[in-house]
């Protein structure tokens, strides 16, 4: 037995979330994206108390003033300060979209785990349903649902949650499929673990990276969708200073030269979605290698 050495620990990289975070910090995309997103989150949370004007207060005698040193982004039709409205405008969308995304992630993950792990008929039937939902663009599904159920923030939330869940389910399913073929699942079955334990304690942690990335990407699309729905009048409802809504209300003015009433909102939406997707991009290239 003397020849059996006590093995020396091999030089292996530090691992775990701390390490992931450290590597994420090295990703330019992630850092830039995170800064943008955090900026808007800050605006959503504290914006109301930081902005120079009450974003809801009208000043009819000073409507549609171009950007100036007093009103940095000018004023809108009711004389409200566009800058203040853009800053506070982050609030509703950054409430609705993340909640919808979270819901869809929970739903989609549960569905994807079930489909991937059980396979067979459950997988077939669910896949068909998923296909049926995915056959339609989210905006159309949302239009249909919002027409049927009436426009409300809650409906928007539910519609996005339900139309994104299949996409997440599909991602989770394929990740789970490759996990299920791994022997640790068999090993768990061989110690008679119950199904929930196998799904959520054994498999789930290993498919978290793709879920995280997908969730982040979905968050970007949730914002995309909520903004689009607000723009076509089925999303966030007035009098919110929401960006999509403001653009919808004011884009008729651009022909009259009042570009400031929409351009800053446009840039705000663009920066937020790009920020989120930079975060996703950073996460994807960091977590998936």
């Amino acid at each position: 037995m003397t020849d059996l050495p006590t093995p020396v620990e091999a030089a292996a990289p530090e691992h775990g979330w701390r390490d992931d975070l450290r590597r994420l910090r090295g990703s330019v995309s992630f850092v830039v994206g995170a800064v943008i997103v955090l900026f808007w989150v800050g605006c959503a949370v504290f914006g109301q108390s930081l902005v120079p004007f009450d974003p809801f207060a009208d000043d009819l005698m000073n409507s549609l003033m171009p950007p100036s040193s007093e009103h940095w982004f000018g004023t809108d039709q009711l004389g409200r300060d566009v800058f203040s409205r853009v800053i506070v405008g982050a609030r509703d969308i950054l409430t609705v979209a993340p909640i919808a995304t979270l819901l869809s992630t929970i739903l989609g993950t549960a569905l994807g785990l079930t489909m991937g792990y059980f396979g067979g008929l459950i997988d077939e039937v669910s896949s068909r349903l998923v296909d049926a939902v995915l056959a339609l663009p989210t905006v159309i599904v949302a239009l249909l649902a919002l027409t049927a159920l009436g426009t409300s923030t809650f409906t928007v939330l539910v519609v996005i949650a339900f139309s994104f869940a299949p996409i997440i389910a599909r991602t989770v399913r394929s990740a789970v499929l490759s996990e299920v073929s791994l022997d640790y699942v068999a090993a768990a079955e061989l110690r008679r673990e119950n199904t929930l334990y196998i799904l959520f304690i054994e498999i789930l942690p290993n498919v978290m990276p793709p879920i995280l990335v997908e969730t982040t990407v979905r968050l970007g699309y949730a914002i995309f969708t909520v903004a689009t729905l607000s723009f076509i009048g089925f999303g966030i409802q007035p009098p919110s200073p929401d960006w999509g809504l403001s653009i919808s209300a004011n884009y008729g003015l651009i022909g009259g030269g009042f570009w400031w009433a929409v351009l800053f909102d446009c840039l705000a939406i663009a920066s937020l979605v790009v920020g989120i997707n930079l975060v996703a991009d950073g996460m994807e290239s960091t977590l998936n290698d």
Partner: protein
């Protein structure tokens, strides 16, 4: 005469996260025209880097930062892109592992091979004929048909033949083969090696043959170089190096191998302690010193030169002291497990099929076996023979077809774990092939062990703690390892964890499914020793699945041979090896290369493995059997032939007609 290839103090480094990591360090070697040079070493030694450096095809982050590479006297580092293309077109070709991926999936074979002629400037009209010829040369029986096929429509062996055809089509001066047969079944591997051997004599091409498999190298090469941590540590003529190694690493590698003549009852395998230093590690002294039993202060401080003396070289301070190693580490075997005739596991008429209708794959058919307490039953057969399916059926991970019977300790076993008693489940466990797959990478070692103990044994609290500690120490894991996650452990350590987990519930039957195939030989030896030791101390029966007959032979008491889901032969290990045995067993055994390179007449198998969806009539082996009796074997199922000691096989041949090993079974190499 200039050498076909020569490395002159070659150094290659990879840039990883801004740091240069030296992968090859001062490698000098030369290959004469027509010579076959073998390069061996464990994974991570820099073998493939050497191969790609020879073609100036390093990964994007790799670069030659020292020395020169000369091909046919030309420094390839100085070549212009056009000259480099010319070099690749006419002078050097390469063949590598996994031929399926080396061929373009979307082009027909004929087109891909013809490309070589296109590059050589052959007129278009001649391409088909030339392609046909070259395919015929690599012994493809119907080149015209194959030319129209796409890669995925060919078997692995055929794919590699095509790759070889492309490589030799330009009649290169140098052929670089990087693990060309790794991943192929033994019978296919033997065919491919035969082919290369044959072509080499015909073409007089110089060969750089890279492999981790010493036996393959021994068979193929004139001279051998041993790489360790990016350095050439020894070089000699083949017969010399295996008979009389002059470097402790070479000697260690040889002694690790479970070669014929070794078995768990006779001696434990030698191991090489420690690990390969990571690439880029700062090393003072001899790179091998930390793992060398002979190392002294000089070794740890002074780097030895590669000393060349009469046709061989060794990078060791004490090349003459190698035989001292025997005295240091030839350990006595552990006390053998008590084997009795009590049957612990009985399998009868086991069948398993997947799918239905014409797609029905009959992966297992009428399989029967008995496992006795404390014994090891080796299970061999080519890939696709159903070994792993059988294991999963026994474990209850797959539900066998109706009519199958499984009994454990006299009691019937239900088809799935869910229906088995806890005692039954905990008594039949498995060590999976690949620890990366078998260990949940999100969980710590501690968690895996404690969960298994808690669930299957029902221990809690201090009792569980104690049990975890004893398990860990039984597989030589320290406290520190318990808190690690798999990615922080080396391959060998991971497999120890997997073994510890398998033993956590005190199983009576342990299935070892290729337990060492993912490991280097030095680590493999330690794991095999561990398995042998645990069997002896815990009185466990093993079912050992392996394609490596050496491993099977080392651990097994009895051996079962499977082919296309059927048991063709089962019997005591020695009897199965020495014969008389089944023609298929004979073919399997003869396809295994041996270290002494002794070329015996190989039992050749023709054709590919038939599909399990369309099994041959009569004897399933008749389509490939060299001893086939037409009209009988392809019509009637073969009878059971019973030989001595419970040695049974299924064959139409009379016992006296059965083949037997015609080579000396006892040690094929004599260790000094």
């Amino acid at each position: 005469m200039t050498d076909a290839l020569s490395f002159d103090n070659l150094g290659v480094a990879y840039r990883v996260k801004g740091k240069m990591r030296q992968v090859l360090d001062g490698v000098s070697l030369s290959i004469a025209k027509g010579e076959a040079y073998g390069l061996v070493g464990e994974s991570g030694c820099g073998k493939s880097t050497t191969a790609f450096a020879a073609l100036r095809y390093l990964p994007r982050n790799g670069s030659v930062n020292r020395g020169r590479i000369l091909i046919d006297g030309q420094d390839i580092g100085l070549l212009s892109p056009t000259d480099l293309r010319h070099l690749r077109q006419f002078k050097v070709s390469m063949i590598y592992q996994d031929p399926g991926r080396a061929l373009n999936p979307s082009l027909p074979i004929g087109r891909q091979v013809a490309e070589v002629f296109e590059l050589a400037g052959v007129p278009r009209a001649e391409w088909p004929a030339r392609t046909h010829d070259i395919l015929a040369k690599v012994q493809i029986s119907d080149p015209a048909l194959v030319m129209q096929r796409y890669p995925h429509q060919l078997s692995g062996g055929m794919q590699q033949r095509v790759a070889i055809a492309m490589a030799i089509a330009s009649n290169p001066t140098l052929l670089v083969l990087d693990e060309p047969t790794t991943g192929l079944d033994a019978t296919v591997e033997a065919e491919v090696l035969d082919l290369i051997q044959h072509l080499r004599h015909e073409l007089s091409t110089a060969i750089l043959f890279i492999s981790h498999n010493l036996a393959v190298i021994a068979r193929m090469c004139d001279r051998v170089g041993v790489l360790y941590a990016g350095r050439l540590v020894e070089e000699a003529r083949t017969e010399e190096i295996f008979r009389n190694p002059r470097h402790p690493y070479t000697a260690g590698l040889l002694r690790c191998l479970p070669q014929a003549g070794r078995s768990k009852d006779k001696a434990m395998l030698a191991t090489i302690p420690g690990f390969l230093p990571g690439p880029g590690t700062k090393i003072t002294g001899c790179v091998f010193a930390p793992r060398c039993a002979l190392a002294d202060q000089t070794c740890r401080t002074v780097e030895p030169e590669l000393l060349r003396t009469d046709d061989r070289a060794s990078k060791c301070h004490y090349p003459d002291r190698i035989n001292e190693l025997d005295h240091i580490s030839n350990a006595a075997p552990v006390a053998a497990a008590v084997r009795n005739s009590k049957t612990i596991l009985q399998v009868d008429g086991l069948a398993k099929s997947f799918g239905s209708g014409t797609q029905r794959q009959r992966v297992l058919r009428d399989v029967g076996l008995e496992l006795r307490a404390g014994e090891t039953l080796g299970l061999v057969g080519e890939s696709g023979s159903g070994k792993t399916t059988l294991a999963r059926c026994i474990l209850g991970l797959l539900q066998p077809d109706q009519g199958s019977s499984l009994r454990f300790a006299g009691e019937a076993l239900a088809g799935t774990t869910a229906l088995r008693s806890r005692h039954q489940v905990k008594s039949i466990q498995i060590v999976f092939q690949n620890p990366d797959s078998a260990l949940n990478r999100a969980h710590t070692v501690y968690r895996m062990l404690s969960r298994t103990i808690g669930h299957l044994v029902g221990l809690r609290g201090a009792a569980r703690e104690a049990r975890i500690k004893s398990l860990a120490s039984a597989v030589r894991l320290t406290e520190r390892h318990l808190s690690a996650v798999p990615s922080q452990l080396s391959g060998g350590l991971k497999q120890r964890v997997a073994i510890a987990r398998a033993f956590a519930s005190d199983p009576q039957v342990l299935i070892c499914d290729e337990p060492t195939s993912a490991l280097d030989v030095s680590v493999q030896a330690a794991i095999l020793n561990l398995l042998a030791e645990l069997q002896a101390t815990k009185q466990v029966s093993y079912i050992l699945i392996s394609h490596d007959l050496g491993v099977v032979r080392y651990l097994s008491d009895r051996i079962a041979v499977m082919y296309l889901g059927q048991m063709l032969e089962i019997g005591p290990a020695e009897a199965v090896f020495s014969g008389p045995h089944h023609p298929y067993t004979a073919a399997l055994l003869s396809s295994v290369p041996t270290l002494d390179g002794a070329s015996t007449e190989r039992v050749k198998l023709t054709g590919a493995l038939p599909s399990t969806a369309n099994l041959p009539k009569g004897c399933v082996f008749h389509t490939r059997c060299p001893r086939k009796i037409p009209g009988l074997c392809d019509h009637d199922a073969p009878p059971q032939v019973k030989l001595a000691d419970g040695h049974v096989l299924m064959c139409h041949l009379a016992p006296e007609e059965l083949p037997a090993a015609d080579r000396n079974i006892p040690p094929t190499i004599t260790l000094p």
